[in-house]
Amino acid sequence: MRALPLERTPQPGVLRARGIALIRSREATVVAFIVVLGMFLEAVTGRFLAPTNLANVLLNSAGTATVALGMTLVILTGGIDVSVGSMLGVAAVAVGYASAAGWGLGPLVLVGLTVGGLLGLVNGALIGFGGVMPVIATLGTLNILRALTFQLLRAKWISDLPPTLRDLGLGLALGVPISAWVALAMTLVFVYLTTRRPLGRHIYAIGGNIEAARLAGIDLTRALLFVYTATGMLVGITALMYVGQTGIVQSNTGSGFELQVIAAVVLGGTSIMGGRGTVVGSVLGALLVAEIKNGLILLNISGLAEGMVSGVLILLAVGADLLRLRGKRP
């Protein structure tokens, strides 16, 4: 059948390349920022490219990147989770107690995943079943869990832990922190989920056009439960990294963590409105966030300024995305 003169005949190879290039465009921008910022920091301080410094950046980005994977899914559905910081606190307490009691690595991992998963499930239930707005539900759990963290610690803190988690937290493999390897592994899992599994694509559909998604028979509640629970489990893994890294669990552990994660996801190109974004972008965003934090330290700018920097970056990134979109789709 002769093709109508309005289109040319497609060639699969060319099309795939075009398709991939399209996706790459936002991620490429983030990589560019990372590189440019790195060059700037090296030029000004001369200490950025030192191997120990780079390892530090990777180390600091690992936890953010891990949770950002889940947060990406959450934001893709049009929701948000501001309670990840408090979830980290509770999960760290659980892991800390278990570790202090002498549990091995395997059981500790189970503790992290279970506690994190349960906390995430609570959020998912409130939002998926209870119909509560994500920001409200997670604002509530943010505060409830922070109080819970304090309560579980009984006004003390956990320290002097056995070295079970230290390798995970601080160890290196091939010159790269082990927690970064873990984050990489999780990234691969989530890339697989979001590109090969139906559930992963359904999440995009929900954020893209909820009416069409319902019509297509997609189970909204199941998807919502999944994204929040997955986020919780990822927080559990990060708790292991955190406890391994610092060896201490206090009542303010994890406080403010949610800002880093949300900043990472937003900078990585995920749209706040839902339906658009990639987990790879968020991981790159996490690297950028860690790099910025590192930059503040190298430049001797007070660590207190982190909130300002992250907050302003979020606003600029979302604003730029919105204005760009307005140009494309009238």
């Binding site: 409200i136 409830i144 109080a147 309560q151 207190l304 606003l315 979302v318």
Partner: protein, 322 residues
Amino acid sequence: MNSFLRFIATDRPRFLILVLALAFVVFALTTAEFATLYNVFNMTQYGVEIGLLALGETLVIISGGGSIDLSVGSMLSLSGVFMGLLTMRVGINVWLAALLGILSGGLLGAINALFVTRIGIPALIVTLGTLYAYASAALVLTNTVPISGLPEHLFVLGQSKVLGVPFQVLMIFIPVALVLHVALRRTIFGRNLHAVGTNEVAARFAAINVGAVRFWVFTLAGLLAGLAAVVMTSRVASARPDAGVGYELQAITIAVLGGTSILGGEGTVLGTILGVLVITVLSNGLQLASINPIWQLGAVGIVLVVTVLLNQWLARRGLRLA
């Protein structure tokens, strides 16, 4: 059960008075110093600050379209810091500094407003960003050290009495609440606000300037935060950079508890005031029972989640909020 639900739905104020009375009784019975005049006095002092924030939050949420302000606590911190710095480092007269502090709150709110109305970023994200940005700015400006040594004549605002009632209650909160009540119920601005929150499209077609309405509510929330900062600074005799931490949770909870619909279009000053009373009693009771302050926020978190779940449940049964 159904008639009870209907009662909650249709007569929110009376329901809240019931809850308030219940909470009061419970705490009076279980905690020694609760039901004393001295304590009630203290409670109302504390309640003024959170009350002003909650009123601002109420206005923002009424404007609808997903409007919410997560930065009210940080605005309080930062404008308090501005006031403290102006007085102690720049040497301005403390009353002038207080006025500038209030105005700076308005400026912070206006920044929120501009991002929401001009650039079109959802209020949720804007105020999430400014929540952290303003809080961080307060910490940086003070290097985490509270500003103290303020002139004593400032303390009349937050620590003195008029006719046996705390100054800020009688001379600040009640007048402000009255003005806002009248504004919301009786003025053109209040009408426009209800219209925008009820049906934004219809408001536009009715020739109402939707952008201007939203701009003003966010700015007003900032002004109220600034005012609350001045009162708090006067009461605790210092400007703490972390003064407002957790206040956004309380403000939102109070607004929602008081009957403000998260979807917009509905909310009253009376409901919010009752909400303030309930939350203040709760927080104070917990404090006196020697429960760690962190549980005050935890308890408020529980109240928020339960309230919203309740509202959802009511909505599903077709019962409107009143």
